[in-house]
Symmetry: C2
Subunit: 373 residues, 2 copies
C-alpha cells in the first residue's frame, strides 16, 4: 500500500466530542516545540494552571492537565484516592458511571452502586440513603454530565451531601466543564476530572483535573503506593509544582498544552457565564428546530444538558444511513447512541466553539433533508 500525507476534510463536529476546534487553537498547537523543562514552557504551565483554576472555579493549588485523555483523568482520580479495601458509592446512570465502577474494582476498592435509569439524573435521595446504609464508605463518585445520555446531575446537592456524611467526592466533569455551571469550591467537590475535547474545544488527549486540599490529604496519608507509576500524582506534582526546580517525571505533551492554553484563554476572554449562556441559547435554537421536525429528547427538560442533545431516532429511519448522509454530503458529524441507546438515539453536540448559530442551522437543514429522503 502506498501511503501519502493524510489530508483530512474539514468536518463540522456535532457529536459527543471531539468538538469543533477554533483555527486559533489549531494555530497554537502547531507552534514550534520547546523542551518540557524550558523556563518559558514552565512559565506557560503556570499560566495554564491559573486558567484551569478559573475554568473549574477553584483555588485548589493542585489543578493541572493529565497528559492523556479523559479516561486517564478518571483513572487518576480513582487510583490516587482509593486504597485497596475501601468502599466507594458509585452512581450509575449511563456508560460513564459503569466505567467508574470498573475503576473502583480495578483499584482494589469495593463499589456500592446506586442505579438510576439511563437518561435521568442521579437521585439525590437514593444517594443519601446509600450514605446512611454505608457509614464505612470513603468516597462518593458520580458523573456530572453523562455524555452517553445528555443528563445533568445536581453536582451541587451531591457535593454538599457528601460533605455532610464526611466522604470525599470524585466527579466526572468531562462534558460539563465550560458548558454548564461547575463550581468546584462552592460545591465542595474534591477530585474533579474533565477532557480537553468537549466544551473547551481543544484537541483530544488531555484531561484537566483538580484536587481539593482534603483530596491531597487523603493521597498523602495513603499506606499503600498508588498502583500506577504514570498516574501517581505525588510524583506528577513535582513536575507541575510552582516553586523551585521542576523535577522530571515524564515528557509533557508540549504542543497539546499550547492548544489547551489557547482554548482556555478563549474561554476566559469570553467569560464563563457568557459561555454557559451561549450554550443555553444555541440549545434553545436547536430544540425549537428539532421540535418542528418531530424529534423527542431522551432527557426531560429539567435535567437536560444544552451541550449534549440526545434525541430518539424516529421509527422507520435508518440510523447509519442518515449519519452517513450527513457526513458524506455535509461533512457534518453527529453522534450515534452509546450502550443502551445504541441504534435508538442520536447525540447532537453543541460544545465550545461548536455551539454556534451556523452549526445549528446546518444541522437542522441537513436533518430535515435526510428524513425526507
Amino acid at each position: 500500500m502506498t501511503i501519502q500525507s493524510f489530508i483530512p476534510p474539514h468536518r463540522i463536529l456535532m457529536g459527543p466530542g471531539p468538538s469543533d476546534i477554533s483555527p486559533q487553537v489549531l494555530q497554537a498547537l502547531s507552534r514550534p516545540t520547546v523542551g518540557h523543562l524550558d523556563p518559558l514552557f514552565v512559565g506557560m504551565m503556570d499560566e495554564l494552571k491559573s486558567l484551569l483554576k478559573y475554568a473549574f472555579q477553584t483555588e485548589n493549588e493542585f489543578t493541572i492537565a493529565v497528559s492523556a485523555p479523559g479516561s486517564a483523568g478518571m483513572e487518576t482520580c480513582f487510583v490516587n484516592l482509593i486504597e485497596p479495601g475501601e468502599k466507594v458509592i458509585v452512581c450509575r446512570n449511563g456508560v460513564f458511571g459503569e466505567r467508574m465502577r470498573e475503576n473502583v474494582v480495578r483499584a482494589g476498592g469495593i463499589a456500592e452502586v446506586v442505579d438510576d435509569e439511563w437518561g435521568t439524573p442521579v437521585s439525590v435521595a437514593k444517594v443519601e440513603q446509600a450514605l446512611k446504609d454505608n457509614p464505612d464508605a470513603k468516597v462518593l463518585a458520580f458523573v456530572h454530565a453523562e455524555t452517553s445520555t445528555g443528563a445533568c446531575s445536581d453536582a451541587e446537592a451531591l457535593g454538599k451531601l457528601a460533605k455532610q456524611y464526611g466522604v470525599l467526592t470524585i466527579v466526572d466533569a468531562v462534558t460539563s466543564l465550560g458548558g454548564v455551571p461547575l463550581k468546584v469550591d462552592e460545591w465542595q467537590l474534591d477530585a474533579v476530572y474533565s477532557g480537553s475535547q468537549k466544551c473547551l474545544s481543544c484537541v483530544p488527549g488531555l484531561s484537566p483535573v483538580t484536587f481539593s486540599p482534603a483530596a491531597i490529604e487523603k493521597i498523602q496519608s495513603r499506606t499503600t503506593p498508588v498502583q500506577s507509576w504514570f498516574l501517581d500524582q505525588s510524583l506528577v506534582l513535582g513536575y507541575w509544582s510552582g516553586e523551585g526546580k521542576r523535577s522530571y517525571h515524564h515528557t509533557a505533551p508540549v504542543n497539546s498544552l499550547y492548544a489547551l492554553h489557547e482554548s482556555l484563554l478563549i474561554l476566559k476572554n469570553e467569560g464563563l457565564e457568557n459561555a454557559w449562556q451561549r450554550h443555553r441559547d444555541m440549545h434553545e435554537k436547536l430544540k425549537q428546530g428539532l421540535a418542528k421536525l418531530g424529534f423527542e429528547f431522551v432527557v426531560e427538560e429539567s435535567s437536560r444538558l444544552p451541550q449534549l442533545n440526545a434525541i430518539y431516532i424516529p421509527q422507520g429511519i435508518d440510523d447509519a444511513k442518515v449519519r452517513n448522509h450527513l457526513l458524506n454530503t455535509y461533512n457534518l458529524e453527529i453522534g450515534a447512541g452509546l450502550g443502551a441507546l445504541a441504534g435508538k438515539a442520536w447525540r447532537i453536540g453543541l460544545m465550545g466553539y461548536g455551539a454556534r448559530a451556523e452549526n445549528v442551522a446546518l444541522c437542522l437543514r441537513a436533518l430535515e433533508e435526510s428524513l425526507a429522503q
Copy 2:
C-alpha cells in the same frame, strides 16, 4: 496576571527529547480535527499501524500507539504482561531500568534486579546467570537505549537469550526506535515500547508499542484483570482492530496521531537504514568536534548511542551557566545530566530531524564559545 497567547521562540532541540520537529510534521498536526470514529480517520489509523510495523521491523498485528507518553507505554507493557506474584528479571544501568523495577513492583510482580554501572551496557553474561538462578522468572526487562547515559545494550543477544530460557522480553526502545537498528521480529522481542518525541521527531505525547503473538497469548491467558482500565490492551485492541466495527474505548488524540503518521512517513521515505546511517554520520561529526574541544564521553565507543551523546562537564565549568548561555544566546537546548549524572554530564541529542549538519555545527561553535567565557 494578564495572560496572552503563548508564542514560543524557535528553539533548536539537542537535548534528550523532545527533539527537533520538521515543519512538515507541525503542519500535519494542525490539520482540521475529525471524529475518532470517522471512517477516514480509521483508514489513517490502519496506515499508521503499517508504518509503525515498518519502523519496528515487525509483522506483529498488535502494533499501535498508546494515547500517552512513553512512561505510559512502559506501564502498558508491565501491567498487561505481568500478573501479581510473577517474577521479572529487570536490568538496571540507568534511570529507566530503575523505573522498570518500580513498574514491576506496582504491578504486583517480584523484581530480580541485574545491576550494571551507569554508562555501560547491560551485561549479557550477568543476565544469563540470573536466568539460570531464577528458573521461575517469566519476563526479562531491559532498556535498549538508556536515555540517561547514552549506552546501547545488545537487544539482539538479550532477546535470543530470553527465548532460550523460555521467558518473554519487555524492551524499552524509547530512544532507539528510528535512530539505531532495532529488529523486533528478527531479535524475537515480545513487548516493545517507544516514544514519539525522540528519533521519530514527532510531538511528545504518544507511545508506539508492539506485542508479539507470544505476548498477546500471555495477556489472553491472564487469570486476573489488568489493574489499569485505561491501559488494558484487551480493551484497546477493539478500537485499533482492523476488522469490522471499531468499538469505542477512549477518544484518540486525533491531531497527535496525524503528526505521528507524517513523521513515520518521513522515516519510511528516507528508509530506515539511511536514517540509521545519518545518525551515525552526524554523531561522527559531533564526536570529532567534541574531541578537539577536549570533551570525554561517558560511554565507551563500542556501546555508544549516536543519537544521545553524554559527555562529562569539564572541571571548573558551571553546568547551568553554560546551558543558560546556549539557550538564551542561541536558542539551543542541550540536556542536563539525570540521576547519578546530574551536574556531572551533559546530554547532546542528535535525534531524527535534529540529526543535521547545521545543528552539529551550531552546537560545536556555541559550546566552544561558552567554554571560553
